[in-house]
């Protein structure tokens, strides 16, 4: 999952960015409204964490512009204003959620995760495809009842494919959603992660769940009965 953090406080950029990365998200950071708008319209983000008071272009104006341009990415507003009127204004401008500073980091992570789920039309933390089970809250995976140990990037790849079960996902989509500006993308990084993921998933059950569609991308689906 890829998150855009638009926040002018350098310290919050560092701490929230680190927490999101540690939680397995690819994170891009922007320090002002204009740059945030440019990034939000140019990249495919699952969630945007947006501060309201920003230099150059304030968060609410950024949000309205985004919505006016048809961008449906879920937005979590982050602000020091805690009045009901402020929240209403934020939500009416097109925000999906609202968090008042100071906030608990765990709460922010949980809200970002919930917004990611909503982006794929899910309300449950558990995903199940055939004998594969994924707990998106605990970030744990089971195949045929046996736990599967995955690296963060492998897990993110699996969760992303699982969210889009039955759909062919292109390599560029995977790169856009799982790798932020700080990642150095090698040409075979996605294939390499997929290969490792397939190997670990087949340990408990050799039936493959991830199929390759030549020239199109990859698909995770239950094998035919």
């Amino acid at each position: 999952m890829r998150v855009l953090l638009v926040e002018d406080s350098v310290r919050l950029q560092q701490s929230v960015g680190a927490a999101l990365r540690r939680s397995g998200y690819a994170v891009d950071i922007s320090g002002d409204g204009e740059d945030g708008l440019w990034r939000a319209t140019g990249e495919a983000y699952d969630v945007i964490v947006l501060d309201v008071m920003l230099p150059k272009l304030d968060g609410l104006a950024l949000l309205k512009t985004l919505r006016a341009r048809g961008c449906a990415t879920h937005v979590l507003l982050l602000t020091a204003r805690d009045q009901v009127a402020d929240r209403v204004t934020g939500l009416q401008a097109g925000a999906d959620d609202y968090l008042v500073k100071p906030f608990a980091l765990e709460e922010l992570l949980a809200r970002v995760q919930a917004l990611c789920r909503r982006g794929y039309g899910r309300k449950d933390n558990r995903l199940a495809i055939a004998d594969l089970e994924i707990d998106t809250a605990a970030k744990q995976v089971w195949r045929a009842g046996a736990p599967v140990k995955l690296k963060p990037r492998e897990y993110q790849l699996l969760e992303y494919l699982a969210h889009r079960t039955g759909a062919v996902v292109s390599q560029s989509e995977i790169e856009a959603h799982l790798y932020d500006d700080e990642a150095t993308l090698m040409s075979n990084v996605v294939e390499s992660a997929l290969s490792s993921l397939r190997r670990k998933l087949s340990a408990a059950n050799p039936t493959p769940l991830i199929q390759t569609r030549r020239g199109l991308g990859y698909i995770l689906e239950a094998p035919p009965q």
């Binding site: 701490s15 002002d32 100071p102 922010l108």
Partner: protein
């Protein structure tokens, strides 16, 4: 709760009742006196006329029954009576109208010539008058040579006073009834009139009652109000305007303070939670920087509060402004170099004033710190000092970025910063407000001016000698 309307109603009714009572009493009393006097005069005239009909005939008192006046006393239904006593106190003559009844002996009334109320035997209420006289002889020829000694005769003439009493009673009833009627009409009319006339006052009170901290934008109408209420309404509007402005300032201050503290607290909290969950992300330097930033905000706010309340103490002594400015500038040398700035001093060799060195140092530090923080790179911060007519002026001029003339009045507002987002830095917009508050407490002034080449000049000026102690601002 007693209202003006209730009080006025009660007092007007009470006043009207008292006036009616007094008026009725006066009318009744005057009429009674007039009627009684008229009654008495008639009675006295009758008595005088009757006395002329009383004769002495050989020591015996007789009344000439042929006299017209005497005939009026013959009919019992006439309501007039007389009785004559001779010298020995024996009753000599009584009017036929008395029949078997008798008039009471006048006793004490003989001394006065007035009338008095009494009753006939049998209970009839009458009013009587007594005359004491010597009747003339029946035989006019013996007047010059009377056969016997003069006879002292007592004549009492009385008249039925029931008509008089009835008239007075009727008058009393009429007066009481009309007074009561007027009082009842007043009782109905006064509240109606008061309600109508006091309606603007009640509307004013109702509007005032509905005003809360959330509705301070309300204003009282002044058009069409009675003259007595117009100044009240105008003053209330002035008061509301000041209250609204004060509330707005207070709210803005709270919002600004909340924002200034929420952001570092949010930073601190997220850093702490991050370090607890992922210890390798721990960053003590950032924690310390946040703590110092919050300390700076709180310290400046406390200083502002103390100076504003006049609780800051001052110690007046000679202050070498030239040396002080140069010393403060040296402390900022590293930041000056980082910002690629240069200082240019144009100060008299020893510009010395009488003031509080600590507060003056705080002012100069804030002004120089502000200049270094907000100057454009590769520019010069110019500090010029002048001394003239027992007054000094210190000008701090620097080239600023993104500041226009409209921003100048806001420079001394608490928490004001050009960037509405208040991004970054350890400045909370408290330095200049604090400097001005300190300057004011020392009897000095601090002003700002921006020229067309974006050069901002902050001028700290005041008397060179002051024994003023810090006072509230």
């Amino acid at each position: 709760m007693t209202t003006i309307r209730q009080q006025l109603t009660r007092r007007l009714l009470l006043g009207m009742g008292s006036l009616l009572l007094v008026g009725a009493a006066v009318v009744y009393g005057t009429t009674r006196t007039a009627l009684t006097r008229q009654f008495d005069e008639t009675l006295r005239a009758q008595a005088t006329a009757l006395a002329s009909a009383v004769e002495e005939d050989n020591g015996r008192i007789v009344v000439d029954s042929a006299d017209d006046i005497v005939r009026e006393f013959n009919r019992p239904e006439g309501g007039t009576f007389f009785q004559v006593w001779g010298t020995n106190g024996a009753v000599d003559v009584v009017s036929p109208s008395l029949r078997d009844r008798r008039l009471p002996w006048p006793a004490s009334h003989l001394a006065s010539s007035g009338c008095w109320n009494t009753t006939l035997t049998g209970g009839l209420a009458i009013r009587a008058i007594a005359l004491k006289f010597q009747p003339h002889p029946a035989d006019e020829a013996n007047v010059a040579h009377p056969a016997s000694a003069p006879v002292e005769t007592i004549l009492v003439v009385a008249a039925d006073r029931r008509h008089l009493n009835q008239s007075l009673t009727t008058l009393a009833v009429i007066l009481a009834g009309s007074s009561l009627l007027v009082l009842m009409l007043t009782g109905g009319l006064v509240p109606l009139l008061l309600r109508r006339e006091l309606a603007p006052l009640e509307a004013l009170a109702g509007q005032a009652q509905r005003i809360t901290a959330e509705s301070l934008a309300t204003r009282f109408a002044t058009d069409g109000l009675p003259g007595e209420l117009t100044p009240i309404s105008t003053r209330l509007n002035d008061l509301l305007q000041r209250l609204q402005a004060a509330f707005a300032r207070e709210r803005q201050f709270s919002d600004d303070l909340a924002h200034e503290l929420r952001t570092p607290i949010a930073e601190l909290r997220s850093l702490a939670e991050l370090a607890r969950k992922w210890p390798e992300e721990r960053n003590d330097d950032q924690v310390l920087a946040i703590a110092l930033q919050m300390e700076s905000i709180v310290t400046r706010l406390l200083a502002l509060a103390r100076v504003s309340q006049g609780s800051a103490t001052t110690e007046v002594q000679p202050v070498n402004l030239t040396g002080l400015v140069e010393a403060v500038a040296r402390q900022l040398d590293e930041r000056r170099a980082n910002g690629r700035l240069s200082f240019q001093f144009e100060l008299p060799p020893a510009l010395t004033i009488q003031s509080d060195p600590t507060l003056v140092r705080a002012i100069v530090t804030n002004l120089l710190d502000n200049a270094v923080e907000y100057s454009a790179p590769d520019t010069t911060v110019k500090i010029v000092g002048t001394f003239h007519n027992h007054a000094f002026q210190l000008h701090f001029t620097n080239t600023v970025r993104q500041l226009d003339a409209a921003d100048v009045p806001h420079l001394f507002e608490r928490f004001w910063r050009k960037d509405a987002a208040r991004t970054g830095g350890d400045h909370a917009g408290l330095g200049l407000p604090l400097a001005r508050a300190l300057a004011t407490s020392l009897g000095c002034t601090l002003t700002a001016a921006l020229n067309e080449t974006s050069q901002l000049t902050l001028t700290f000026s005041g008397p060179t000698e002051t024994n003023r102690t810090a006072g509230p601002i």
